[in-house]
């Protein structure tokens, strides 16, 4: 560990800070997460597998999570790309407001989000009678779960893609258009390859959040075992029923997913950094030479006001 401060006092402070950081991360993150795995596998791998695969309600919860999360992520991917493109390429009244609104789900408690959905789509809700007449069930059913999960994960893709799109600028897309490419061709051949790592980053984060979402989903699901319980809801229910080993087994699946996400995030972020460096290098090259006084008339103008 090298320090720019040569004084021993600086070195001591640095070491203390490092130790504090390691202690906090260890106590709050590493140890609890490790204990989940320890608990889950306390009865051996066979017991762990039995807890997951032989309980029909748990099986259904896993299946439901694996359906709801990808659907929500897919909706968010579509929305995220479209919104990022709109926000990056156009200036219009209300643009800043739209950016703020896209971020709103981060600051709203998920429970509030869930309640809001019930107020709109519930039986007594705004659209309740219409939905009932059509025979569609949203609340206490999987569409509600998808809506709640989508709401909660909404900012993740936009937030990742927007800054990258802004940094890259519209020039490559315009170049493609001037070479004859249509809108879809520009998107698939130019825009998408340019934002692919940012997009993947957003998708991975959104997926992790979608799989783990509890609050909003709790409100809209009705908590019906074997029907609307997702994995996090199942973990909580099993825990409340004092079936701790089974609860820990499901929890370990979620925790394992977090670890996979972590690795994916690490790999993607390295790619993103490499691309950002490349972009900065290309810009830097252009900019430094731009500032070189382009000789536009060496100035010899003396100004005088004698008549």
């Amino acid at each position: 560990m090298s320090s720019p401060a040569p004084r021993s006092g600086g070195r001591l402070a640095e070491n203390l800070l490092v130790a504090a950081a390691v202690a906090v991360v260890g106590l709050l993150i590493v140890v609890p997460l490790a204990s989940v795995f320890a608990e889950a596998f306390a009865g051996g791998v066979a017991a762990w597998w039995r807890a997951l695969a032989h309980d029909p309600d748990t099986r259904h919860a896993i299946w439901l999570s694996l359906t709801v999360a990808p659907l929500a992520v897919a909706i968010n991917t579509g929305f995220g790309i479209a919104a990022a493109w709109l926000l990056a390429r156009f200036r219009f009244p209300g643009r800043s407001l739209l950016i703020t609104l896209c971020d709103l789900p981060f600051s709203v408690s998920p429970v509030v989000a869930g309640l809001a959905l019930v107020l709109i789509f519930g039986r007594q809700g705004l659209l309740g009678p219409t939905l009932a007449a059509l025979g569609w069930k949203v609340i206490f059913s999987w569409p509600g779960l998808v809506l709640a999960t989508t709401f909660v994960t909404l900012p993740l893709v936009v937030r990742e893609v927007l800054p990258v799109m802004e940094a890259i600028g519209p020039e490559e897309e315009l170049a493609a258009v001037s070479l004859g490419a249509g809108g879809w061709q520009v998107f698939t051949r130019i825009t998408l390859p340019n934002i692919r790592w940012a997009l993947l980053h957003g998708v991975v984060l959104a997926n992790a959040r979608a799989m783990g979402e509890f609050g909003a989903v709790y409100v809209v699901s009705g908590h019906i075992a074997g029907a609307t319980d997702t994995m996090p809801l199942r973990v909580e229910k099993l825990f409340q029923e004092y079936r701790t080993p089974a609860s820990m087994a499901v929890a370990s699946v979620l925790a394992g997913l977090a670890l996979v996400t972590l690795v994916a995030k690490f790999v993607i972020e390295r790619q993103l950094e490499a691309e950002a460096r490349e972009l900065a290098a290309a810009r830097g090259l252009a900019d430094t030479i731009d500032t070189d006084p382009a000789t536009a008339g060496s100035d010899a103008s003396g100004k005088d006001s004698s008549a």
């Binding site: 490559e172 315009l174 340019n194 000789t295 103008s301």
Partner: protein, 360 residues
């Protein structure tokens, strides 16, 4: 293909980028749009390319109205200021892009791209990514990519702006030859007058969304039609004088100015180019010289700028400086020192009456 621009206007919010601009570019011309930033030159170029829509006016190609035609249907080659190469594609795929969009057969694409790589002197670099190329190489890839679709019109936005001086001069000459060989109509945007004059058949000087002057480089340089052009071309002494009865007066020096025959005196701006002034020691001049439009001054300093020597003088009775450029040999003969008395005689004087709307 000839281009006709008819009464184009374009505003961005309250900013008038183009104000009723009309311009004809005959087939085969290499034309420069010259002006400071914000003069509307790039906007005009983008409108010709179809990348920007005019608020009013029309664009014609060979007499056909193409105003409403989308950029992808214009068949115009466009070279962007920072090249806008497709970063994730290699050089070959960059150049092949327009051909692939047009569903050209793979074998034909390969032959065509290799031919273009040869044309822009990048043989063997097809596998490189844009990030692995130098500025000059990227510029040539951008050019090859634009040429691949066989455009009748080539548009270039500050094509040499991001290159260092030596590469810039080389590429300029090369682009001129290329233009002549292919026989396209080309328009390029620049803020560098030297670049415009060296490369273009015709120069269009723009300011505040309007065309100030259009002409061959010689016409524009020798006969700047407005004070703005005079100023923008740079390297000029500007003084305030007055005009009266067909004469212009500045600091006791008198010139003919038949454009203003009126008796009422008006303030006017007097432009003197440093290389159009003669400088002598007072003793070398015949005594009547002073009456023929010369002025007395003192040398403030002498500096070398390239092959010429610049002598900065202060005309007697003023606080302003007047620059005179003379050849190095002449400067050696004169051997002027700071504080020496000199006589300056303009060979050519340009006078402009101030335009109330004109702001430097």
């Amino acid at each position: 293909m000839s281009i006709s621009i008819r009464g184009i206007s374009k505003a961005f919010g309250t900013f008038r980028a183009l104000d009723d601009v009309s311009l004809d570019v005959p087939q085969g011309t290499l034309l420069a749009l010259l002006g400071p930033s914000g003069s509307g030159k790039t906007t005009l170029l983008r409108i010709i390319a179809g990348l920007e829509w005019p608020d009013a006016g029309r664009i014609e190609e060979d007499g056909t109205d193409v105003t409403d035609r989308h950029a992808r249907q214009r068949e115009v080659g466009f070279v962007f200021q920072h090249y806008a190469l497709f970063r994730h594609m290699n050089v070959f795929e960059n150049i092949a892009f327009g051909l692939r969009i047009r569903k050209v057969a793979a074998r034909e694409v390969e032959a065509k791209v290799n031919e273009l790589l040869h044309l822009v002197r990048l043989d063997g670099l097809g596998g490189r990514k844009p990030a692995q190329l130098s500025g000059g190489q990227r510029q040539r890839v951008a050019l090859a990519r634009a040429l691949a679709i066989r455009p009748k019109i080539l548009l270039l936005d500050e094509p040499f702006g991001a290159l260092d001086a030596k590469v810039r001069v080389e590429l300029r000459q090369w682009l001129r030859r290329l233009h002549d060989e292919i026989g396209m109509t080309s328009v390029f945007v620049t803020h560098d007058q030297e670049e415009a004059f060296e490369l273009a058949d015709e120069v269009v000087v723009m300011n505040h969304g309007r065309i100030e002057q259009r002409g061959t480089p010689d016409e524009v340089f020798e006969h700047p039609s407005t004070p703005f052009v005079m100023d923008f071309l740079g390297n000029v002494n500007v003084f305030h004088g007055r005009v009266e009865k067909g004469q212009a007066f500045w600091h006791g020096v008198q010139f003919d100015y038949p454009d203003y025959p009126h008796a009422q005196a008006r303030p006017a701006q007097v432009y003197l180019r440093p290389h159009e002034l003669d400088i002598d020691r007072p003793t070398d001049r015949p005594p009547q010289a002073a009456a023929q439009g010369s002025l007395a001054a003192r040398v403030v300093r002498t500096t070398r700028s390239g092959a010429t020597i610049r002598i900065s003088c202060r005309p007697d009775g003023t606080e302003s400086e007047l620059h005179v450029d003379i050849a190095a040999d002449r400067a050696r003969d004169l051997a002027l020192q700071t504080g020496d008395q000199v006589v300056i005689t303009p060979r050519k004087v340009r006078v402009f009456l101030p335009d109330p709307e004109y702001v430097i």
